[in-house]
């Protein structure tokens, strides 16, 4: 069994879903900003924009309920009453980025434009296909995994909520142009994936699996040797072949018996339309994401909450504990998925309440990562970037302007922290790919020949880094 991926998990026997138990980590003599722990990225995607100041046909003048009152240092005063105040205790490690504009690519649908562009920075494979669109490039989460993970293993792509509906459910992670990735939906499968063969199982199973793999490998070799296979057949066979190799490379993290039982008790909620259950499954996913990063299983995780327009999830109003209309209706301020339904009174406030629940979900992740010590005496959260982003700027307009990027952790000092920064204030000028370049560079991606990643995504969406975000 290979143990190299336990690179900073020293002598730790388990990981709690309730509280992190990774207490075996001890400081060493490294400088605080030495990247002993390789930087990582964990993305949380929210749909439908946020409840920001705007004028709508349905409600009229809607007040600002998301962005700080002023840019600059984050303080309780600048975010009072805003969704971001849920994150007050983590202000010193937060970077709030305003003015990240998606490009107005010809997707033929606002949600497709936001969701597919979100992590790819790319337009559609074919224009104006609306709900039948696909993104025309690899997503950042996958690229981080491909280039930086051990053996180039796939990043973790997680999903909570009903995995169907608009844009086909899970839709933000791409292996390549037009090649959508399958998410891990059930948290139990996430654990199964991270764990692979446990220590107890390994001695018995490893030899047997090796024998199976020998047989299978020979069969793959004979199939791949056929020069007349189509490129599609070749690509899919190669992916399969590499998957076998990756799994052989060894396994790492396990949960204790109690944690496993807790996990099994929670996993039934992942396909729900009840917002509380969707978010509960999301928290379990994020626990497992923290485990996966802490164990060195992966340096990249993306969690998508809800389908393309999150139109199946009924989040609950925390003041009444009753389910609201589905999030897409709320974001449109109307009782329909388009603009034909009746106006939902107070829906701007309901949207804000949903934003707060996403802020709490993000805080859950930051809490987890901040509770894990690193060998150099720091906290795991500061070694990477945890990103809560929205693929649209607002509802009901669903503009791509000023899509929120809330970043926790500076990637070992790469990014500024404790500030709100507006990178531009010109609507409809795409710069979103620059944000992806910045995050990719922070995690360690470099362009061919060295130098920070500066060409990810479509150049129409900007090139280079957002230098104002760099520490």
């Amino acid at each position: 069994m290979t143990t190299n991926r336990r690179n900073f998990l020293r002598g730790v026997g388990g990981f709690s879903l309730a509280l992190p138990l990774l207490e075996g980590l001890r400081p060493n003599t490294a400088k605080a900003r030495d990247p002993d722990v390789p930087p990582f990225a964990i993305f949380i995607r929210q749909a439908n924009g946020v409840a920001c100041a705007q004028s709508t046909d349905e409600i009229g003048e809607e007040p600002e309920r998301f962005w700080p009152t002023t840019m600059g240092p984050l303080t309780s005063a600048t975010v009072a009453g805003r969704a971001l105040d849920e994150l007050t205790e983590h202000f010193p490690r937060l970077l709030v980025v305003k003015g990240v504009n998606g490009t107005n690519f010809e997707y033929g649908d606002g949600h497709a434009r936001g969701a597919f562009q979100g992590l790819t920075g790319r337009g559609p494979t074919q224009p104006n296909q609306g709900g039948d669109s696909e993104a025309s490039g690899e997503s950042l989460d996958h690229r981080i995994g491909r280039e930086l993970n051990p053996e180039g293993r796939d990043s973790l792509f997680l999903y909570t909520g009903r995995n169907s509906g608009w844009l086909g459910g899970a839709c933000i992670s791409y292996r390549d142009a037009g090649v959508r990735r399958a998410p891990l939906h059930d948290p139990a499968l996430v654990y199964q994936q991270i764990m692979g063969l446990s220590g107890d199982q390994f001695a018995e199973l490893a030899a047997r699996q090796q024998s199976v793999n020998d047989l299978v490998r020979d069969q793959f070799a004979s199939l791949l040797a056929n020069p007349k296979l189509s490129s599609n057949d070749q690509q899919r066979l190669t992916l399969h072949f590499e998957a076998i190799r990756d799994l052989e490379a060894g396994l790492m993290c396990t949960l204790g018996e109690q944690e496993l039982m807790a996990l099994e008790g929670l996993t039934g909620q992942h396909n729900s339309t009840d917002g509380d259950e969707v978010l509960a499954a999301g928290r379990v996913h994020l626990d497992l994401a923290a485990l996966a990063v802490a164990c060195g299983y992966t340096r990249s995780v993306a969690l998508q909450v809800g389908n393309g327009n999150d139109g199946d999830t009924n989040y609950r109003d925390p003041d009444t504990n009753l389910p609201m209309e589905n999030f897409h209706y709320i974001s449109h301020r109307r009782l329909s998925h388009d603009s034909e339904g009746s106006v939902i009174p107070g829906s701007d406030l309901l949207h804000h309440k949903i934003d707060r629940q996403f802020a709490q979900l993000f805080k859950h992740l930051v809490d987890r990562l901040a509770g894990i010590d690193t060998p150099n005496g720091g906290k795991l959260v500061d070694c990477g970037v945890s990103v809560w982003y929205n693929d649209l700027g607002n509802g009901p307009g669903h503009h791509p302007n000023s899509t929120p990027y809330i970043v926790a952790g500076g990637a070992n000092g790469f990014l500024k922290q404790g500030e709100a920064i507006e990178v531009q204030n010109t609507p409809w000028v795409g710069n979103h790919a620059m944000m992806l370049n910045t995050l990719g560079s922070a995690v360690g991606l470099r362009k061919t020949g060295g130098g920070f990643l500066d060409d990810f995504g479509d150049p129409a969406s900007g090139t280079g880094l957002m230098t104002e975000l760099l520490a």
Binding site: D132, E204, S211, L335, H337, S339
Partner: protein, 585 residues
Amino acid sequence: MYDHERDWTIERFLKGIAPRTLPLIAALGVAAPACSNGDADDTASDASTGAETGGTSGDGDGDGDGDAQARPSPSVRMMRLTHQEWGNTIQDLLGIQDVAPLLAVLRADPNQSGFVFDNNYESLSVDEALWNGYRIAAAAAAAAVLEDGTLKDSLFPPSADPLETRIAAFVDAFGTSAFRRPLSETERAAYITRFSEASAYYPDTDPTDAGIAFTIDSMLQSPFFVYRIEQSEQVVDDSIPLDDYEIASRMSYFLLDSMPDPALFARAEAGELSDPAVRRQETQRLLATTRGADTMLSFHDLLLKFESFEAVNPSPAFFPDVSPSLGVDARTEAELFIRELIHADKGSLKDLLTSTESYVNAGLAEIYGLAGTFSETEFERVQLDPERRLGLFTRTGYLAHNASSVNPDPIHRGVFLATKMSCLGISAPPDDITPVPPQADDKTNREMVESHTEDPETVCVQCHKPLINPYGFPFENYDAIGAWRDTDNGKPVDAATEPFIGGEKVPVANANELMATMAEASDVHRCYVKHWIEYAYGRNATEYDTPTYDMLGDASRSDDLAVETVLVELVASPIFVSRAAEELQ
């Protein structure tokens, strides 16, 4: 209902057309009237009329260049089993009835856009997560066989023969079933050797049991099990004939979602499946099974989105008497319609579009205005009012799913019918267009939609007026739960339109006339057969398929072919048993 003894075969038609060129039908996959997007308005909302109507399929055929021939279309040669196929195959191969725990460890496949069904073989791949799932499931399946003496004995029967003989027989028989073809000598030798070595991997296990388990475990992880592989490469008359085992798998995974059954294997072993008469016979036999019925349902379930009926949620304020189970009931009705009227009774597409029969419980009976007493939970077969309810699209599932919680939604109704049943290509709407204004007290639902979408000053008019609205307005007689209405907002319902059918505008007075017109339209029948081709081959239809769906579609219309007969003739087609020679270039 259909008389399937009629003298109709696909060869009769294909003989007459291949390889001569055929004109393509412009309406299939092509928006005949101008229907394209304008520039997005960068200031308003995408909360626009029809903003999320399901998009278009972009199927790539119907290019109108007239160069189609009756030849097999190039496609992938390694088709990974869908999870449904994998589970059914495990059931049939091992005899394990409850495969749900095994399926639970397989991560779901992505929902790739642009394909109606769940078997787009170009996109079905094995990543690390799925490989891990396959590995765990294979070991669990092997363990399940060992734990069940009956299952184990069925695979490795008790016998007085020498153990070596039994091992060889087991490897041969199980290997042939698992790989869906006879093993090569190399494979056979390798698995026999590993059988004998397996006890080292299973401590405290009988050596023979260890060999059985290892053989099952390893074969279920083989690419020859996980994929359906068509390896034939010999070109004959400009195409590559499949061998009999490859034909058997094509047939069984199309018709049963599973591996060939013993009778089909026997046909393959006897070399009989290149004979179209045998394939017809076998197709009828397979469709008569439970799995065959499931396939008939699965196709329609995916095409017509029965699952989404369950999400129907009418406003309690407007429809206080509607059962909370309305959505589930509507799905049940649709499924029974397919199982009984289309499968069991050998119904045709015309029946699907115009039948007045259905299955209802008390809730649906009330919506349909049926007199009498009905069970809340049990469904019974009924005759609906022929003046109001022709075909499946005049039933609650389609009507209520394509409605807001309060009002009918002629736009979604229209887009669905136009794209899925007439194969009209309709571009997605532009982003950020002006929302519908609040409903005026003196206007009907139709008037509101017309005023918003047919304004000649907007881009909306290009698609809505000629293509979308005329397919949706005929259903204005049905409210948001599918109940009949003569008035809307105090004014008489106007359901008359001129939908684009068969290359021209056809006046219809209401939904019944629309359904009757579509039932007689070649384009609609060709569209339906095209979808079956996509389902059968696990890919979008291409220009190569055009002659087949033209001919089968035309026969479906003119001879009122049973859907079963369409499938029989699809399998009997020479194209079904060959691959494209272009793949080898």
